[in-house]
Symmetry: C2
DNA sequence: AGCGACATGACAATCATTCTCACAACGGAT
DNA sequence: ATCCGTTGTGAGAATGATTGTCATGTCGCT
């Protein structure tokens, strides 16, 4: 059974004050800066346990570093993350879900699961981007359930 | 400036004989087993260079290990990977692409990019056999349970 | 053949994450 | 409130993939 320890409480508290995806190391540093005395291994252990129980979302960054975030939606959802500031927006896309599942079934795959994360530059960081600003917006088959934080 | 070296040739040759995603370490071992003498660092450097130039696809496994594969489609596409045997099917989903881009734009995000990979059990590992190759079965039931990780 | 830039290899260095294990603290029972 | 078995913690070592270093090799060109 899961016990309630000072450390676990502190970790959850720290996470609840975070809005972006943060690595275990960053969370640990943040806590240390806040005066909390928690071992790094403990942070790792708890983040893992929390994500396993679905209370936390994990994102594997390109360099292999895992990042954690406490999401508003505890169910299945995806993220739109700003490459610059890490600002995150959760969204649901039921049509995408079923479309992917359908494709998988067409190929004989079962017990389907998937990873889908979208990266981009949020409004605050759409400065002078590179190149002639690609705009690949075509078929706005709008029906998203975007839910801003 | 890209020179043709024995090592690079051997790496490409090894990759062309591979159909599944393999880690740099696995590829290195495979080559050693085949009698090739190539340094591990060289394998890493070349795999990176090749993926950067788009000749190779990279998949970041859940544990952070990068896996490489030479894909038939050199353009943008996604993968359907068997969790058991690694069997991989490439697929395109233009509708998903535009839908995701649309969602991102609705939230003010630009320069959008995304990662989308589907995992499941291929016909050979689901316990029951499915049609030969094509099987347009549409079972609306989906027991997918988000397995955060 | 000669040359200079790029590539390679062996190994050290990084870095995130996990393991180890002695010790501390939770919490249900007493 | 106290006991006590179980679970959690902390410090540091260990692991393992990936990257950096740098002396040496060799490719492509003249």
């Amino acid at each position: 059974m899961q016990r309630n320890t000072r450390q676990r409480t502190a970790i959850l508290e720290t996470l609840s004050r975070q809005d972006d995806f943060r690595s275990a190391q960053q969370i640990h540093e943040q806590m240390k800066a806040d005066g909390e005395t928690v071992g790094l291994a403990t942070v790792y252990r708890n983040l893992q346990a929390l994500s396993r129980s679905g209370r936390l979302d994990v994102l594997v960054a390109g360099d292999g570093e895992s990042q954690y975030r406490q999401c508003a939606d505890t169910g299945h959802h995806h993220h739109l993350v700003c490459r610059e500031c890490g600002r995150t927006v959760e969204f649901l896309a039921p049509k995408l879900e079923s479309a992917m599942t359908a494709i998988a079934h067409e190929h004989g795959f079962t017990d389907v699961d998937h990873t889908l994360e979208v990266f981009g530059l949020c409004a605050d960081h759409t400065g002078q981007s590179v190149g002639p600003d690609e705009d690949l917006d075509d078929d706005p088959d709008d029906e998203d359930e975007g839910r801003a934080r």
